[in-house]
């Protein structure tokens, strides 16, 4: 086997159009698998009321712990709720929360990061030192502590995850704005005496979003796992909310007798995070040829 080497004629000149993007996207079958799986999950959760006759929170003790069957594909739980129904409604929570959390973290992160990079000096040093402190904690453990301090609830868990995710975006946006503030169009805007906040809003932020978008795509899957982990530990969504982590947190005690109870919510969690990671991986491969290949 030969090692691939770059030679001067080996690569055609880059073409500045969307063609290479589509070419690479077509090549990247894994990304399509990811998009396919995620698409099915999103669609099913949106049309859940049509797909299933059951209610996600309706208790029916007479049909508790039913094994998977034609009536209940994924079985029922300890109070007779249909697990498939709960999972489908739970998808709205998990995916919705994952995306919301990352949007929160990235928007705040971009703001803080651009301000830090643009103004520099004491502001920059202070902000970055604070970020260093936050980053000194392993993310999950800080999120746990924060969620516990704020009090166990889904909203507080979201806030906790958003906070621990902020420093990554601050760093990214700061790096971009350090470069951008030296650019001619920013310098000329400054020389006209334009308000710095206007410059940040009009020039710095719009030009520093693309690396943030790559990072955000990769982070949504992680956020979904974190929210479920906090739910599992009792620090996130509280029963009877059909959140996947909270479902598993009750279901795992019944694992050996009623295996389907924790297994199916976990499977969906795995499939959602997995498809998001496949998509994120593909996008990074395409936009940042150095990272993947």
């Amino acid at each position: 086997m030969e090692t691939p080497l770059q030679t001067e004629t080996s690569q055609p000149k880059p073409i500045t159009s969307v063609r290479p993007f589509w070419y690479k996207l077509k090549q990247n079958q894994m990304t399509w698998v990811g998009l396919g799986i995620l698409g099915v999950i999103v669609l099913c959760s949106l049309i859940a009321p049509i797909l299933t006759p059951y209610n996600p929170t309706q208790v029916d003790i007479s049909s508790k712990f039913l094994a998977p069957s034609l009536h209940h594909w994924f079985g029922t739980d300890e109070v007779g709720r249909d697990i498939l129904t709960r999972i489908l409604y739970g998808a709205r929570i998990s995916l919705g929360v994952g995306i919301t959390v990352i949007i929160m973290a990235s928007v705040i992160g971009i703001l803080i990061g651009t301000i830090s990079g643009y103004f520099g000096g004491v502001i920059d040093v202070t902000i970055m030192r604070i970020m260093d402190m936050v980053m000194a904690f392993p993310t999950l453990i800080l999120a746990m502590a924060l969620a516990a301090a704020l009090g166990p609830s889904l909203q507080n868990a979201m806030l906790a995850i958003a906070i621990v995710k902020i420093p990554v975006y601050v760093r990214l946006a700061r790096g971009e704005s350090l470069v951008l503030r030296e650019k001619l169009f920013v310098k000329s805007a400054q020389s006209f005496g334009i308000n710095p906040w206007r410059i940040i809003g009009k020039h710095i932020v719009p030009n520093s979003v693309s690396p943030v978008i790559i990072q955000a795509t990769l982070d949504v899957g992680d956020a979904i796992l974190m929210i479920a982990t906090l739910g599992f530990l009792g620090l996130g969504a509280q029963p009877p909310t059909p959140e996947w982590g909270a479902m598993i947190s009750i279901g795992w005690k019944y694992l050996l007798d009623y295996w389907w109870y924790p297994t199916f919510p976990g499977l969906l969690l795995f499939l959602s995070a997995g498809s998001l990671n496949l998509i994120g991986d593909g996008i990074r491969d395409i936009l940042d040829p150095k990272a993947g290949r």
């Binding site: 000194a136 993310t139 453990i141 516990a148 301090a149 694992l255 976990g266 995070a273 997995g274 993947g292």
Partner: protein, 334 residues
């Protein structure tokens, strides 16, 4: 070298200070009323006031922080509400179990992850590469609590090959306490029965815990191997007749490992996070299980003590990682 270490130690002190500040905020400021949290909703006003006074919560924040810092410096992390024992003593008792699990899982992640990453890079776009890609995307997408459950279901529930609870079989005495790490202690004291049982118990949780980090390390090694393999010096080496494992390991991997080390440091942090969940699932009597048990009781001092300890440990690990750079890469000097 000396200068760097001093520099880093300075940074360490600063970050540790920051960490205590954050954990102070988490335990004293954010929760609104920690005293209410401690005594519970049903307690009467009198007890509440008493606890408040006892905790010094009626003092101004700065004074509270001073008291808090004094406590930490003298090793006082408060008293656990659940166990009624000093948190520091509890953590000390559970620390070795967590360390043992984390170390074994970390060894798995490195010993499997690095060769797998090299294989994926060397055989790029082959079956092995795709398999390792699916394997590692699986790793970062699998919630630890779920993979733990599935593994218990198969290897304990159906096959009954491995135990799924604790560090040793019920009827076996722990080895003589030397380090608190059962594998090491039983080796040192020649206690083969305990050794066998502890290896048997640690295997499943260690595999579950290592999977996510294994995935991260594999991806990183693959990416940096590919980047290195495109560099000119590799082409020169090939043109000079160097090939095979020697080329991949001595020439490429050595330099590919340099960026990997940062990732390894971060992944040890995630490993500690994962340990919390893994220990809960496998009934592993470590700090993670301790803290999850504390959550149910809203045992604040226990949770914050744990958080603080982990953060300080994490900072120290990252310091060690930084220093290994200087050993591996002669180009960074002074």
């Amino acid at each position: 070298m000396k200068k760097i270490i001093i520099n880093r130690l300075g940074l360490l002190i600063f970050v540790v200070f920051g960490v205590t500040l954050i954990s102070f905020l988490l335990s004293h400021v954010i929760p609104g009323d920690p005293a209410r949290m401690m005594v519970g909703q049903r307690a009467n006003e009198e007890t509440l006031q008493q606890v408040r006074q006892q905790l010094g919560l009626d003092q101004p924040l700065l004074i509270q922080y001073e008291t808090y810092m004094k406590g930490i410096i003298s090793g006082d992390l408060g008293t656990s509400i659940r166990t009624q024992k000093p948190v520091i003593d509890d953590l000390e008792a559970f620390f070795p179990a967590t360390m043992e699990l984390a170390i074994i899982a970390f060894i798995f992640a490195l010993v499997i992850g690095i060769p797998l990453g090299v294989l994926a890079a060397v055989k790029k776009n082959s079956f092995w590469d795709h398999a390792s890609r699916i394997f590692s995307i699986g790793g970062v997408s699998t919630p630890v609590f779920w993979s733990g459950l599935v593994i218990i279901l198969i290897f304990y529930g159906y096959l009954n090959w491995f135990p799924a609870n604790g560090r040793l079989d019920m009827n076996i005495h722990p080895p003589t306490h030397i380090t608190g790490l059962y594998i090491l202690d039983s080796l040192l004291s020649g206690d083969m029965v305990a050794l066998k049982s502890s290896l048997h118990h640690i295997l499943l949780p260690a595999i579950v815990l290592s999977y996510a980090q294994l995935a991260v390390i594999t991806r990183q090694v693959r990416a940096s191997m590919l980047e290195i393999m495109e560099q000119e010096y590799i082409r020169t080496a090939i043109a000079n007749g160097i090939h095979g494992p020697f080329l991949f390991f001595r020439y490429a991997l050595r330099n590919a490992l340099i960026p990997t080390i940062t990732v390894v440091g971060i992944s040890f942090g995630s490993l500690l996070g994962g340990a919390v969940v893994t220990e809960t699932i496998f009934g592993w009597p470590g700090m993670g299980k301790y803290v999850v048990d504390s959550i149910a009781y809203l045992d604040f001092p226990a949770m914050m003590g744990f958080t603080l300890l982990i953060a300080v440990g994490y900072v120290i690990i990252n310091l060690i990682v930084d220093l290994t750079y200087y050993v591996l890469d002669p180009q960074i000097k002074g």
